[in-house]
């Protein structure tokens, strides 16, 4: 870098005296110039051009002072460029990290929703059995509610903005559990008021609690989807392009004055800036592209199957409530149909889930047929049997598969977002390191020119 090309001190000295001569003529004012020759006339435009370049680059200063000022300006420009690019990358890093965290939060909210409706489906089905509640179903009910409580705590720690809503959800879950406990206690004593507590708990779950869950899902969907936009790769190019143009312009003016085409220090700085700008643009463009893929891929999968799983458990609970209502369950059958429509809509195109849901839906049709034919006992037997091939077994199969697919999609989504965030962090760090190299290159390139006057 120190060679600065084929530098000849004579060129600068030839240029410098012109300035000094011009200044002296002006000061003295009495020296008459000889009449211009033809050669001199031809050289005038070039001199005028050089004079314009000098004024643009140097203003009214002498060359060493002007070079010092330009070194400061270019150093500042390089620092601003690196900070600007790093800020853009940092912005995407923040968004992506927040997106991953919000996606995790959304997954937890969906899991809470599904677990609550799963608990309700288990409780209503166990109630239908009559007599002592099967130990396995009781255990599964407790596990589902424990899962909800655990997720509420984790979610409240993860997202402070959700805390008020989660506190309300926690209150309602406790009320639900208390009502179910009342239902169970009365049921064990053979008192019909137990059935009323069960109905009221299920009703409250579908009105008040579902409202809070819907608000949580909506808020976290908005936060999570913000990670899929705002990766402005073209913005990352603008400061870099501006700086490269500035360095190029400076190099051109310097070449015109010092009669050397390329200042190696300036050229290296421009190359560093161009390379890092391109890297930032590529990373952000890649992030934007993968965000679009995630939105229509894993995110869509996790959201749709979560909605389907919640609706499926709602349907199963309504199946039991229909039979508990015993012949007067038309409203529950309507709710079953609405929930089933939600399931079908959200598993459209997912053949493995469709086949499992159809098997359960066929079993449900048999239950309804038995109930409508007046054979309530047979309908209950069909609804509560858990052997292979029964409606409940098919339902559990669907629920388990849906849970597994949600888990896979959510994990993939979170992993991809976190990977993207680390890529942006890496380029941001590289940009800051490149700043040091570019500043050094600019300094070296200008220092070499200044030394020619030393």
């Amino acid at each position: 870098m120190s060679s600065s090309g084929s530098w000849s001190p004579g060129a600068a000295q030839a240029a410098a005296p012109q300035t000094q001569q011009g200044a002296g003529s002006s000061a003295q004012g009495t020296v008459l110039a000889p009449p211009p020759t033809g050669e001199a006339l031809a050289a005038r435009p070039r001199q005028a051009e050089q004079s314009g370049t000098r004024r643009a680059l140097l203003g009214s200063s002498d060359i060493p002072s002007a070079l010092v000022r330009w070194q400061i300006v270019l150093t500042a420009a390089v620092i601003v460029w690196s900070l600007l690019t790093a800020a853009l990358l940092g912005n995407s890093f923040d968004k992506t990290r927040a997106g991953a965290a919000n996606t995790d939060q959304l997954t937890r909210i969906h899991a809470m929703e599904s677990s609550l409706f799963q608990a309700d489906a288990i409780a209503t089905n166990a109630f239908l059995v009559g007599g002592l509640e099967p130990a396995e179903q009781r255990m599964n009910y407790d596990a589902a509610l424990d899962q909800v409580s655990r997720l509420i705590v984790i979610s409240a720690e993860a997202q402070p903005a959700d805390r008020a809503a989660l506190a309300e959800l926690n209150r309602q879950v406790l009320t639900y559990a208390e009502q179910m406990q009342q239902a169970r206690a009365n049921n064990r004593q053979g008192l019909p008021v137990g059935a009323q507590y069960l109905r009221e708990a299920s009703d409250d779950l579908r009105s008040d609690t579902l409202g809070v869950l819907t608000a949580l899902v909506s808020a976290n969907e908005q936060r999570a989807t913000a990670a899929f936009s705002g990766h402005y790769w073209f913005l990352a190019l603008l400061p870099g392009i501006a700086l490269v143009l500035l360095l190029g312009w400076f190099n051109q003016r310097l070449a015109a004055i010092f009669r050397r085409r390329i200042n190696v220090g300036i050229a290296i700085a421009a190359a560093i800036v161009a390379a890092l700008t391109a890297a930032a643009g590529v990373v952000l463009a890649s992030l934007a592209s993968s965000a679009d893929e995630l939105r229509s891929g894993d995110y869509e999968t996790a959201s749709a199957i979560s909605a389907a799983r919640t609706a499926a458990n709602d349907a199963k609970a309504n199946e039991s409530l229909r039979l508990i209502a015993r012949g007067s369950g038309a409203e529950f059958e309507e709710q079953w149909e609405a929930a089933a429509a939600t399931v079908s809509e959200n598993i459209d195109g997912r053949s493995d889930l469709i086949s499992r849901w159809r098997e359960y839906a066929d079993g449900h049709e048999q239950i309804v047929a038995a109930d409508e034919a007046g054979d309530w006992d047979e309908a209950v037997r069909l609804a509560t049997a858990r052997d292979a091939g029964t409606a409940t077994a098919h339902f559990i199969d669907f629920d388990s598969e849906a849970e597994a697919q949600i888990g896979m999609a959510s994990k993939s989504l979170s992993t991809t977002l976190r990977l993207g965030s680390w890529q942006t962090a890496g380029v941001a760090l590289a940009t800051l390191l490149a700043m040091v190299a570019a500043v050094a290159a600019v300094s070296r390139g200008i220092t070499v020119r200044r030394r020619e006057f030393g």
Binding site: G59, V73, D94, A161, A164, E168, P192, V193, N220, S328
Partner: protein, 320 residues
């Protein structure tokens, strides 16, 4: 371009870009869905008559089970293979689901089984359809159910819409309160929240006889008990049979020992035009009187809570 003009171009944009990542707005907490306000409009003056308990004379000879007369309503039921009966599943002692067996049982249910046995020879050829009090008349009118045995009071107004069997039980409206309550009677209800099932004559009587009370409706009587146990209401009013069933489920609830402030004659509801079915049911009720099944059922379900009672009401016939 002057060197002094370059830095501000970058500085402003850098500042704008670094000012990001502020916190999220708190998630909105929705208001709980308000509980629908029960319909508590003052009832219209009930139609009056002097033959609300008058029904149709039973057939001179009851047809044998499984051999219902051609063209009769009972024959249609026999051909269908099951009797569809609207019942309650939450009126303890009258009609409620036994959580242990899953079966619906009670005094009303025994009568329903007796009718099924008279038609088919098998008391189990029956479909018990759980209905609310408000469903009783609409479902009879639509023909979705054959009969209603659900502590249904025979009133002149209802006779205009449906038919009834003879009176099979004489009930009366009373008040259930907490132990130690300052409510001692109908007059004491003023200013208190009192629950009754929507669509029942009990609610009509409450509004008419205790206008200073605050009526609270529930879908059924057991819904009232839940409100009572939560402290949302101070008292429940309804038929003594229903209140006995509620009190049996809550050791802190007592039925006031005042005289009933209304007479509630229970009849089996039938579609208005099915007079042959009403007469047939009257024949079944008389068979129950004769062979002691009515008394056995009363002794099993109601006597432990209501005492010996006055027995099966004397039938009044003469309606045509």
């Amino acid at each position: 371009m002057s060197p002094r003009r370059i830095p501000p171009l970058f500085g402003g944009l850098a500042l704008a870009l670094t000012l990001s990542g502020c916190g999220y707005a708190p998630t909105e907490v929705p208001e709980p869905v308000p509980t629908p306000t029960p319909t508590v409009a003052a009832p219209a003056a009930p139609p009056t008559c002097d033959d609300a308990t008058t029904s149709y004379a039973p057939p001179a000879t009851m047809p044998s089970p499984g051999a219902m007369p051609e063209g009769s309503t009972m024959r249609e039921i026999q051909d269908r293979g099951r009797l569809i009966v609207g019942v309650s599943a939450d009126s303890y002692l009258l009609g409620s689901r036994n959580p242990q067996s899953g079966q619906i049982e009670g005094f009303d249910i025994d009568i329903a089984h007796a009718v099924a046995e008279a038609i088919f020879g098998d008391p189990e050829q029956i479909q018990l359809r759980v209905i609310t009090a408000g469903d009783r008349i609409p479902l009879l009118e639509s023909g979705e159910i054959d009969i209603v045995v659900r502590n249904m009071t025979m009133t002149c107004g209802r006779w205009e819409q449906i038919g009834f069997s003879e009176e099979y039980y004489r009930s009366g409206q009373k008040i259930l309160v907490r132990q130690g309550s300052d409510i001692t009677g109908l007059d004491g209800l003023a200013g208190h929240r009192v629950c009754a099932a929507d669509g029942t004559s009990s609610m009509d009587n409450l509004i008419r006889l205790a206008p200073e009370a605050e009526p609270v409706g529930a879908r059924n009587h057991t819904g009232c008990l839940v409100l009572f146990q939560r402290g949302d209401v101070d008292a429940i009013t309804g038929d003594d049979t229903v209140l006995a069933g509620l009190a049996a489920q809550d050791p802190y609830a007592v039925v006031l020992e005042e005289a009933a402030f209304s007479a509630e004659p229970y009849g089996v509801g039938v579609p208005k035009d099915d007079t042959d079915l009403a007469a047939f049911i009257n024949g079944v009720l008389e068979q129950m009187r004769d062979d002691g099944r009515w008394q056995q059922s009363y002794d099993r379900w109601l006597a432990p809570y209501l005492g010996e009672g006055s027995g099966q009401p004397t039938p009044v016939y003469g309606r045509s």
